[in-house]
């Protein structure tokens, strides 16, 4: 359903809702996967992101997103200088992810302390984004809602256990997506939630013995 405020918005730093605002949101989501500003980031730009990225400030927008700047933050303009000061060790590369990848795609490989994550995402236009892959798992995360992502061993009842924790905290599941690479292999769960989950929820999920890692991604839309 189209919202009036999607049309009259977002408030953003120019010049392009796809190449700047959307790029920033992808940076924000990758930041969420490691729980803060990365020490190191490898940013591989595909298609139109690689071709017209600098003129659109795509590089600044992604670096800014990695540092937690939102699409309307004027610091985005100076994000690369700020990244140098903050000792975010970044490198940009041009790549071809695959022939059918969305033209505005990026692969982000980020490290913070002993945490690391790889994410592929695309900017779909009008600031909307979609994350299609996290750590090799196929996912679908829009960032329109708060999202909990986790990797768990493929045990029976895992979904029920997670759902119970969320319900006990009064959180309403909007969407749930489960994927695994093979039978009996690790399962990837992406759960979109209407309300913002607290750190306690994340910690409780992490304490489950069969959960390998879990993160909460704050929503990145306005």
């Amino acid at each position: 359903m189209v919202s009036l405020l999607d049309i009259i918005g977002p408030v953003m730093v120019g010049p392009s809702s796809s190449h700047t605002a959307g790029a920033c949101r992808l940076g924000l989501l990758a930041r969420g996967l490691i729980g803060g500003t990365p020490d190191r980031a490898r940013i591989e730009l595909h298609g139109s992101f690689a071709r017209t990225g600098e003129g659109h400030g795509t590089d600044k927008a992604i670096a800014g997103g990695l540092m937690g700047f939102r699409p309307d933050d004027e610091r985005l303009r100076d994000a690369l200088e700020i990244a140098e000061r903050e000792q975010l060790d970044y490198v940009f590369e041009k790549t071809t992810l695959s022939d059918d990848a969305h033209p505005n795609s990026v692969r982000l490989t980020v490290e913070r302390g002993d945490r690391h994550a790889t994410m592929i995402g695309a900017s779909l236009g009008a600031g909307r984004v979609r994350v299609s892959e996290i750590n090799g798992y196929s996912v679908e995360v829009s960032g329109n809602l708060h999202t909990v992502v986790l990797i768990a061993e493929d045990v029976t009842g895992s979904v029920a256990a997670i759902a119970t924790i969320l319900a006990e905290h009064g959180l309403n599941i909007a969407t749930l997506r489960l994927s695994r690479k093979e039978r009996g292999g690790d399962a990837f769960m992406a759960i979109e939630i209407d309300e913002q989950p607290g750190e306690a929820v994340r910690d409780e999920i992490r304490s489950l013995p069969w959960v390998r890692w879990a993160f909460r991604l704050d929503k990145v839309s306005a």
């Binding site: 009036l4 009259i8 408030v11 017209t52 659109h56």
Partner: protein
Amino acid sequence: MYRSLADAIRDAEEQRITLATLALATEAKDQGRPVEEIRTALQRALDIMRGAVDKGMTGDLFSASGLVGGDAAKLRTGPEGPLSGTPFRDILARALAVQEVNAAMGVIVAAPTAGGAGVLPAVLTGLAHARGIGDAAVVDALAVAGLIGAVIAERASLSGAEGGCQAETGAAAAMAAGAATEMLGGTPAQVGHATALAMQGTLGLVCDPLGGLVELPCVFRNATGSAIALTGIELALAGVEFRIPVDEVIDVMGEIGRSMDVRYRETAGGGLAATPTGRRLARERLVQIKKR
């Protein structure tokens, strides 16, 4: 939100309310939020739009490539033309101003997109300034613009990559025309005609920016888009009716977009981007991502 402008116009007429009231009530119901909260968000959007207009008028902003910038100020201080001293010239200046801010990585409201972000602020704040119209009425107008934009998003497209510039500055002109028509006292039916009249003037408009960047001709398309919006407003308020229903005009915009060659959809493969000078400027001025 509505998927048909004809339905919205009919409901507003039956309930004897403005399209703004209808749009705000519908959004409140859709999103489960109070109307006041939506008005507050629209007021913030209006404040940011005004900020971008003011900033762009200073004349010292330039884009990364240096291809655009400084032109809004020329309309304030440059030699007179046939429109000098009228709201028309001021509105053209405001449209350029917002787009120059956008190209220079300043803060704007993407309404409906960043590439078409100059039209709505130019037309609404320009007319409000000229007629002494207060913010509450401009916020109402933004709600009407949002309603029209939502219908265009559902029935056609708001993306240059999908539908060409007709889906960006064309949609912006249609939204601004309908919104300002109600702001100036037009009936819901007149809002429909103003929207259709503006949109018919941009049908077929291609998206052909140099190097694929939101700079040239995007900045100027926002000025010409504003002029087309003003035409729709002037004709509709005078009682002119457009015989093709507005929903059908929107549908055909979508259809034209879908059949548009990919060269004309934000790929820099055709139109002005592919002229000899367009190609040369893109080569010389549009820098590439540096590794570090």
